[in-house]
C-alpha cells in the first residue's frame, strides 16, 4: 500500500515539477546551433536571472535584465558572423588554407561595433601592446580584456 502511495506521489510530484518549469522555459528560444558549447552556456548564465544575495535585491534586477539583453544581442551577432563564415567556407572549399583565412577575415570585418563584449576571442588573434594596454588583433577587430563582474570577457576597442 505504501509503495503504491509513494509511486502516485512520485508521478504527481514529477508532473507538478514539469508543469512548474514549462512556463519558465518555453518563451526562451533554443539558440545553440551556431555557438560553441562554452558560449552557449555563458549566454544562458547571463540570461538566467540569479539572485545570490538578499541585500540589494531589487536594485540588481534592472541592471541584470539589461546585461541579458546585451548578451543576447552579442550572441545573435556572433551567430550571424558564424553563419556568414560557414557559407563563405562552403563556397571556397577548393581554396588554399591561406585564402580561406582571408575570406573569414573579410566576413568578420566591421561586424562588431566598438564596445561589443564577447565571452571568448575568435581564433587567429595576434597580441599587441599600445599605450600600456594589451590588445588582441583578430581579423579586423581589436579586443582588450576586461572584467565584467566576476567574468573575464573581451571588449572591442580602438588602440
Amino acid at each position: 500500500m505504501n509503495i503504491i502511495k509513494l509511486t502516485i506521489l512520485a508521478v504527481v510530484a514529477g508532473m507538478a515539477f514539469f508543469v512548474d518549469l514549462s512556463p519558465a522555459t518555453s518563451p526562451i528560444p533554443m539558440e545553440v546551433q551556431f555557438v560553441s558549447e562554452a558560449q552557449a552556456i555563458f549566454g544562458v548564465r547571463r540570461r538566467a536571472i540569479r539572485r545570490g544575495v538578499v541585500v540589494g535585491y531589487a536594485a540588481a534586477e534592472g541592471a541584470e535584465a539589461g546585461a541579458v539583453a546585451q548578451q543576447q544581442a552579442v550572441t545573435a551577432e556572433q551567430q550571424a558572423t558564424t553563419a556568414q563564415q560557414q557559407s563563405a567556407t562552403t563556397q571556397q572549399q577548393a581554396a588554399t588554407a591561406q585564402h580561406e583565412n582571408a575570406v573569414v577575415t573579410k566576413a568578420a570585418a566591421g561586424a562588431l561595433a566598438l564596445g561589443t563584449v564577447v565571452a571568448t576571442l575568435p581564433g587567429g588573434c595576434t597580441q599587441m601592446s599600445s599605450g600600456g594596454i594589451e590588445y588582441y588583433h583578430c581579423g579586423a577587430d581589436y579586443y582588450r580584456a576586461v572584467f565584467q563582474g566576476n567574468n573575464l570577457v573581451y571588449v572591442t576597442a580602438s588602440p
Partner: protein, 247 residues
C-alpha cells in the same frame, strides 16, 4: 509540488509551516539576530565556503555550478577572498584603499580605488562592478536590519547537522525572495549554511552556501590584503556595471 503533496494528504515536515504562512515567529527572528550580532562583533574571521549556483539552460536542463571560496576579513577595512571552481580562479583583495580582482590562470588583474569600509566596498562592488563577494550578506554591520526588511514569514524549521555540527534551521520569506539560515547551536552562534531562493520565477533558482573551517580573530599578516602583481601579469580594467547594460 508542495500543493500536490498537501492534496494527497501526505504529511511533510513543512506542512505546519505552510499553515502559518505570512506569520513571523519571534523565536526565529531572535535566533537570527543572535547570529548576525555574533558575526558583526567579530573583529576578524576566516571561513571557507562551498557555493552552489543553480542555473537553467535554454532547454530547461538544470546545471549546478560549484565554487569553493576562502574568505578572510579584518574589520573595519580589510578583506581577502579566493574563489576556485567550474572555470573560475580568482583572488579578491581589499585593504581600505584599493580593491583588486586577480585571475591567476589568465594572469590578468584589475585594481581600483576603493571605499573606506568593508560595507562600502561590498556595496560598490555589487552595484558598480557587478562583483559577488562570498557571504557578503552576512558581513554587513547592519546585516540584521538589511535582511529582515519586508520579511513576512519567519520560522524555526528544526534541528540539522551541517558538516558534523548541530545547527538550528531558520526560514524567512520576503517578497520575491526566500532565505534559509542554519545557525550553530551553543555559545558560538555562527552561520553553518545560507540559501537564497528567487521566488519571483516558477523555476525557484537558489544559491546555496555551506560554510566551514571558521577561525575567529585569526592572526593575519596585513600583507595578505595587498596585491603585488607578478611581473608577467597584465593590468586590465572593470567594465562599469551600469554602462555595460546600456550598450
Amino acid at each position: 509540488m508542495v500543493s500536490a503533496m498537501t492534496l494527497l494528504g501526505i504529511t511533510v515536515s513543512g506542512s505546519d509551516l505552510l499553515a502559518q504562512q505570512s506569520e513571523v515567529d519571534p523565536a526565529a527572528v531572535q535566533a537570527f539576530q543572535k547570529m548576525t550580532e555574533f558575526v558583526v562583533n567579530l573583529e576578524g574571521f576566516s571561513v571557507s565556503t562551498q557555493v552552489t549556483l543553480e542555473e537553467l539552460l535554454d532547454n530547461g536542463q538544470r546545471i549546478d555550478v560549484d565554487i569553493y571560496a576562502n574568505v578572510v576579513i579584518q574589520r573595519p577595512n580589510k578583506l581577502r577572498a579566493a574563489r576556485l571552481g567550474d572555470g573560475v580562479s580568482q583572488s579578491f583583495y581589499y585593504n581600505g584603499e584599493t580593491l583588486t580582482l586577480y585571475d591567476p590562470v589568465n594572469k590578468v588583474y584589475a585594481t581600483e580605488a576603493a571605499p573606506k569600509t568593508i560595507e562600502g566596498v561590498l556595496d560598490y562592488t555589487r552595484e558598480n562592478l557587478g562583483l559577488i563577494i562570498p557571504v557578503a550578506d552576512l558581513v554587513y554591520r547592519n546585516a540584521f536590519e538589511l535582511l529582515m526588511q519586508d520579511v513576512n514569514f519567519a520560522a524555526v524549521v528544526g534541528d540539522a547537522i551541517i558538516g558534523g555540527v548541530h545547527c538550528t534551521h531558520l526560514a524567512f520569506g520576503r517578497p520575491d525572495v526566500d532565505f534559509q539560515v542554519w545557525v550553530a547551536d551553543g555559545d558560538v552562534p555562527y552561520p553553518c549554511k545560507y540559501v537564497v531562493t528567487d521566488t519571483s520565477s516558477p523555476a525557484l533558482m537558489s544559491t546555496v552556501t555551506v560554510m566551514g573551517d571558521w577561525v575567529f580573530d585569526p592572526e593575519t599578516d596585513a600583507a595578505v590584503f595587498y596585491f603585488v602583481p607578478p611581473a608577467d601579469a597584465q593590468a586590465v580594467s572593470f567594465l562599469p556595471y551600469n554602462s555595460s547594460s546600456e550598450n
